[in-house]
Subunit: 320 residues, 2 copies
Amino acid sequence: MAVPARQVSSAELDRELGLRTGTTFRQTGVERRFLSTTETAAQLAARACEAALADAGLRWEDIDCLVAASATMDQALPYNAALVHAELGLDHRRTATFDIGASCLSFLAGLDVMSYLVEAGRYRHVMLVSADIATFGLDWTRLKEGGIFGDGAAAVVIRKALPGETGALLSSSMVTLSAGVNHCRIPAGGSRFHPRRVAGPIEPLSLFRMEGKSVFRLVAAELPDFARRLLDQAGTAMDRIAAVVPHQASQLALDHLAKRLGIPDGRLVDIFARYGNQVSASLPTALHLALSEGRVRRGEQLMLIGTGAGLTMGGMVLTY
Amino acid sequence: MAVPARQVSSAELDRELGLRTGTTFRQTGVERRFLSTTETAAQLAARACEAALADAGLRWEDIDCLVAASATMDQALPYNAALVHAELGLDHRRTATFDIGASCLSFLAGLDVMSYLVEAGRYRHVMLVSADIATFGLDWTRLKEGGIFGDGAAAVVIRKALPGETGALLSSSMVTLSAGVNHCRIPAGGSRFHPRRVAGPIEPLSLFRMEGKSVFRLVAAELPDFARRLLDQAGTAMDRIAAVVPHQASQLALDHLAKRLGIPDGRLVDIFARYGNQVSASLPTALHLALSEGRVRRGEQLMLIGTGAGLTMGGMVLTY
């Protein structure tokens, strides 16, 4: 994982915004978050990739595919993976690169999809990286929305399990509820609200907007059944899951998830107070922390789950 | 395939730009191109999907995954496939959706990747759609760059071949030469050149810029060997390929491709004069026209090949 150099506590935000001490933390649930100043998404992604490569004990010549699975673009063109490839100085390596995107669930979609390609032997080692710098597009006067986000990146190396290894993907699913397509959005940045096509200033359209209550209503009705089917398909049950690694959407969303899914005490990986909502980087950062803090042992099962702009629900049950 | 309602001939552009008759065609090689006025990328994509579904004789309940493989974003958030899903009114269908992106080669990357998922039985029928509206970001005073682009969309349905069917993917490859990462680019639209992060006006940064000669130099040295390896891996040779379907980068690029790859006369699918460079929609539109015009018969081989911003080379040899 990688984060920008600058970290900002909620106490600092209180002072900056002229609020009574404790206001920002009470409204956001975030103690500190990391905010990019000069770092680009590709730079954070590259640092996460180098860390994953070292952890895996591999060298770049072992990696034959680099997939960027981020929620937002670094530039409109070229795609994120090409920018990360350039940032890593891999030009002399003849790597395949492409992006896989599904907003906050991009990492899940990428892990799911690429597992089939390593299983089939198409690629030997896939570097999968999620990186988002979403905090430039925030309205800091709307603290509950703006104050929860942080920047970051996280990467994993995927390969086929060797005989005798426990790692396995037991079930995986993704479903789009596009009735909520406008519940979370950044209108500008693409062709629909191009500066040439929009009469007024573009800046207001490049800010993130979320209708939290509408998201909650749509998701609350669906997620418990969705999680149950994931467990059923994996032939397991919630009480056998060592850790549930969710997308870190908000403190409220995490609390509801624990309750609605009946996650046993201490099994939910909640890094929200330490990092905020890091968009696509949330899930792999939480996964990295859960594994490196020893919350899942080899052979134990874990669940990844979340909801992102789309709206899309996604989840996966794995053996570590 | 789908195109916007408005078509613009090079003769019309001559008049609009106050140029001597024939100038635009001579500089671009495009007779007419389709330009979006009110259409969004998701609308064009949805029309292409409906056409592909009808061609395949399927209904939406048969499609369990929708993948958008475009070069540019429709909005910064959510991702393209969710917007297409909403545009198609598929909310009551519980479809998986995500994006696969590799600029102009997004369709190739998507076809390649998703072939493994249908082969493994993860999805039964995948709708894969490419749609780009790039023409808002053009500088029409630079005709050789701006005048070659057109808008459009094209879609295919992918499924596993049944016993006795000839369809097969024989070889596929993708390589990124990120020394050329800045040769084709639209800087703004993402977090790197966010309106909040850039001092000056954002519009100049949201225009497409290409260093054609640098692209050519990098690619000309690499593409012939790349194509030869694709043919070798497929166990075939250029004289056995019924049709070569290239990305329609420019007339010069197409002419050089035919010469450098030794493509026999009449085998190159060149739709450039009729549609221009439709970014990610070029390859599937050319494929659709090649198949619907009867240029490839069942059991014959075809090659898809191209280069896109990244720079990335990609190619595939298939049996139809």
